[in-house]
Symmetry: C2
Subunit: 579 residues, 2 copies
């Protein structure tokens, strides 16, 4: 019954993304998606024909494996009445899942009642001979015979091999059949004894084996999934190595991943990416709170258009024209006018730009900071410097497992950075480029290519992939940027780069209303359209400055992931607004 | 020149909010706003006529005071050339503010170069005889004579009295004139020596006095402000006490406050409110991170309509119909489907409802939680219980100064709560109401009045203002709520109350797709319209539940503030989308 709906789901997505994905060959009970629209970093695009051929081969292989499993598990998966051990396995009923602690409890409730769950990631050799209860997903079943089967259980990216055999206590051949016949990705509760095998276990993260005594299926997945988690978790290197020995393994393309994101984010690398993202936010906050910053929440619904320049999402607000904030710029500056001294915000930022690149999204998570300046805009750069070094140190310390998990699928070199961040002026940067034979406009902006090149030169000369470039030409910054003291062609502003890509933009703001109006006019802006902004500064305001960072870019560049869609949980770009 | 713009600003706001505010009498150099549209908690609405009369009287008083100050300060405020101490005061020039550390530094740069700023809130008697540098605002000046003046300096809600007198070292009568003539709310850097007066100082938070040696104006405010911070900071009790002795003090109404929010948020109570709001977010995160939750960021731009039911803000997304998320419900559940186990999000939530009440906003900050359930939905209530007790404890411990500042303007009793939160079933609640003579539908929802009454009964019987009411009737909860095990008329759901108002709504979700479709149908929902939601659960999903809280409501109810606009930095309601 679910299958019709499932097909509808597929059709729904295929109609939404028909321009970017190709559904490819979907034969009977399995699938294969062809890598038509791969990201920049993915190589080796196969022709459709060759891919179809490979897909058919793969399909045959998978069907053979399934047939073997089914033969062992026989036709019916239900618990047989005449099994004296029937209470040790089976499907958990919905009433039980509503409240397992009722008096008329079922077998599952009784079995788990006096036990605590051990996380799969915590299953170590220290637990040898101990009985444990785990909850996880059926990653894969490997039936061996009527009387024996393996099942790999996965929880939050960690995997453990479980063995069910009729030689075990309380295990019937019916139970083996039940376990071997479980659908991939189903949720199970398993009770068993931890054993330490003589040889290392290949293909699981945990180096112990669970000898099962009881296993209950808490929730069944569909027998066929649009993508398999182990296909989605495979590295390019594995695929290429297999190809050398004649095996064509499925490669799941970026759009297919995003269409079935609830499956894709189950891979160890994705589990790592979003746990690291959480850590970036946590360290960002902890550091700023410790420096006396206050976290604020500014409105995303703005009257009129928030800044001009890039495109905004417009909407009707109870009959008034409104738009979604492109940045919290105005409101974080108002918070400074309102005596909060130092503020930060973590929240969504909306850009209706038509940029379909590896580094742009229509909605992303902005990390925004604004602060009083006592003497000099270098105070803002000092915060950037210490904040990011703290963040990088923290990620390397706290997220080792996550970084390893990402590296297994997407190998990358650790970011090179210094305890005290390198600062170059824009003029120095231009000179470095010139010395290397790259001519750029000394009062223009750097294009992506020049930024990359400069990143490379800085790495060679200073051995760092993280640096600040400041004193940008005034002409390439927004009108509210404070010009330099000694040369009005330059400004009290900076960009910050990771691995040759811009990640932060910051500056001292013009806080004197008369001068702000003058600067707006000089930039060709009608002062009347921004009068509320200018007027905010008429009631007394300290000199101030700030900066903004995209959370997704931090994670993307720290891990050298090459596509920002990989670091957004449910990305939005000009072609995608679902799921 | 700035004044025209300022008038334009006033006119801009008056045209925007003409329906809710009355600009009242704005005579020459001062203003008075009449309290026409006060919030529920504000009493004593005066007639326009009486108010105008009072305003005129007030205006006279203020002009008299100003005249006295100006007489003392004389006409010109500029630094006079023939003053041997002219380097000890004056306006800081814009070039200096761009970079005070240049070689050709001005007097201000030289004066502050070797000093660190002391926060006003840190000025205690321990610093007696020490020379300090402070940055703050001119809260008020009190000229005494040509040779002496007081100036109260305010920073982040803390105030200190400063004395400038020609008897002091390096102080000329010109400097006294300069200080006495400073506009309110201007930003100054002041250097002076801490002294401890014999008698307590009235009207300032700090019990020391600074004897000024140098004072520089970093940024000038307009001579006349739309609201004065001390008017905005006054409690009802002060206004009423003054009235008894024949003084009519200005009362700034809620809409005027919001129109000039950058001035309003400078009051000590508002400084407290938003610092407490920051703490609520911080404790919420710290607690959940320590319990293994992962912070996520879900999209606010959603294809179609996010949930149905209440009104949504619609927009065009690159040619596709889209809307703003009314809650992260779907995506936080998808994160559970995606193996994150326990997740939370802090982010904006959008509701296009036409509710113009003390507790509804069109945009607010949602604190959302979703988690796997192992055995029973009480696990979710356990998290709510410990989370909120930790939060309340934390606020009481960490925010004493802030709570006191709020209490001075808006007196309130500390929240009564228990270390282990009271849990009542809906049936028990209905019975308590019945016993008190209030008849309610035992299978319907409680209206606001019944909730208030029950809060009162619970307080009397259990001595707590914070409790959980669970097992709500199934019929009054969304279709995705899990019915109770033993009685399908009820559900595995709960609401949480603070001071008789609902603050949290939570439940176990239906995670079985077939049953979810059945429940949707039973609730009259076309299953086809929610197929993507239902299909998310077809790839295996653990039992799970969660809850949502509004950050602004937590602060409002903890501090009994009576109007949610007081706890939103820049609130959005059906009549307000600015500033």
């Amino acid at each position: 019954m679910g299958f019709n709906c499932f097909i509808k789901f597929l059709l729904f997505f295929s109609s939404l993304f028909v321009s970017t994905i190709e559904l490819g060959v979907a034969i009977s009970s399995s699938y294969i998606f062809i890598d038509i629209m791969s990201s920049e970093s993915e190589e080796q695009q196969l022709s459709k024909k060759a891919a179809k051929k490979e897909a058919a081969k793969q399909e045959k292989l998978r069907r053979r494996q399934e047939a073997a499993a089914l033969a062992s598990a026989a036709s019916s998966l239900s618990v047989e009445e005449d099994d004296p051990y029937s209470s040790n396995y089976g499907d958990v009923s919905l009433p039980e899942l509503k409240s397992c602690s009722q008096t008329d409890a079922g077998q599952w409730s009784l079995a788990i009642s006096s036990m605590e769950w051990t996380p799969v990631g915590a299953l170590t050799q220290d637990l040898k001979e101990k009985e444990v209860l785990i909850r996880g997903r059926v990653h894969i079943t490997r039936p061996v015979s009527k009387n024996m089967s393996f099942v790999v259980v996965r929880e939050k990216g960690f995997t453990v091999q479980c063995l069910v055999t009729t030689q075990g206590e309380g295990v019937s051949s019916q139970m083996v059949k039940f376990v071997a016949g479980l659908n991939r990705e189903s949720i199970i509760d398993a009770i068993g004894v931890v054993s330490v095998p003589g040889n290392p276990i290949k293909g699981t993260t945990q180096q112990v084996e669970i000898h099962l005594r009881k296993l209950y299926c808490v929730n069944k997945a569909l027998p066929t999934l649009p993508i398999n988690v182990d296909d989605a978790a495979r590295s390019d290197a594995e695929i290429e190595a297999a190809l050398l020995s004649g095996d064509k393994l499925p490669r799941v393309n970026q759009d297919t991943r995003l269409n079935f994101r609830v499956l894709d984010i189950r891979t160890p690398s994705n589990q790592g990416i979003f746990r690291i993202q959480c850590q970036v936010g946590t360290i960002f906050r902890q550091f700023l709170l410790s420096e006396g910053f206050v976290e604020i929440h500014t409105p995303k619904l703005i009257a009129g258009s928030s800044e001009g320049g890039s495109a905004v999402f417009k909407l009707d607000y109870k009959g008034q024209p409104a738009c979604l904030a492109q940045s919290p710029q105005l409101h974080k500056q108002m918070a400074i006018c309102g005596d909060f001294g130092r503020v930060f915000e973590i929240g969504p930022v909306f850009r209706a730009e038509d940029s379909y690149t590896h580094r742009h999204l229509c909605e992303f998570t902005g990390l925004d900071v604004e602060m009083e300046i006592k003497k000099h805009y270098s105070e803002v750069m000092d915060i950037v410097d210490r904040l990011f070094v703290t963040m990088f140190d923290g990620m390397n310390e706290r997220c080792q497992k996550e970084l390893e998990a990402i590296g297994r699928q997407y190998p990358f070199e650790p970011l090179k950075y210094k305890p005290k961040t390198l600062r170059l002026t824009f003029e120095e940067g231009v000179q470095m480029l010139k010395d290397a034979g790259v001519e750029v406009d000394p009062l223009g902006d750097l294009n992506t290519e020049a930024e990359r090149k400069l990143g490379q030169l800085v790495l060679e000369k200073y051995d760092t992939e993280f640096y600040i470039l400041h004193r940008y030409p005034l002409a390439v910054r927004p009108f509210y940027t404070m010009p330099c003291y000694d040369n009005a062609l330059y400004s009290n502003s900076f960009d910050v780069f990771i691995r040759g890509e811009e990640i932060i933009s910051g500056a001292q703001r013009v806080h004197v209303p008369e001068f702000l109006a003058e600067r707006a006019q000089a930039c060709g802006i009608d002062v009347n359209t921004i009068s509320t902004y200018i007027d905010s500064f008429r009631y007394g305001v300290p000199p101030h400055g700030g900066f903004g960072v995209g959370l997704e870019r931090v994670v993307m560049l720290f891990c050298a992931l090459g596509n920002i869609r990989k670091t957004s949980l449910f990305p939005r770009d000009p072609q995608r607004i679902a799921p």
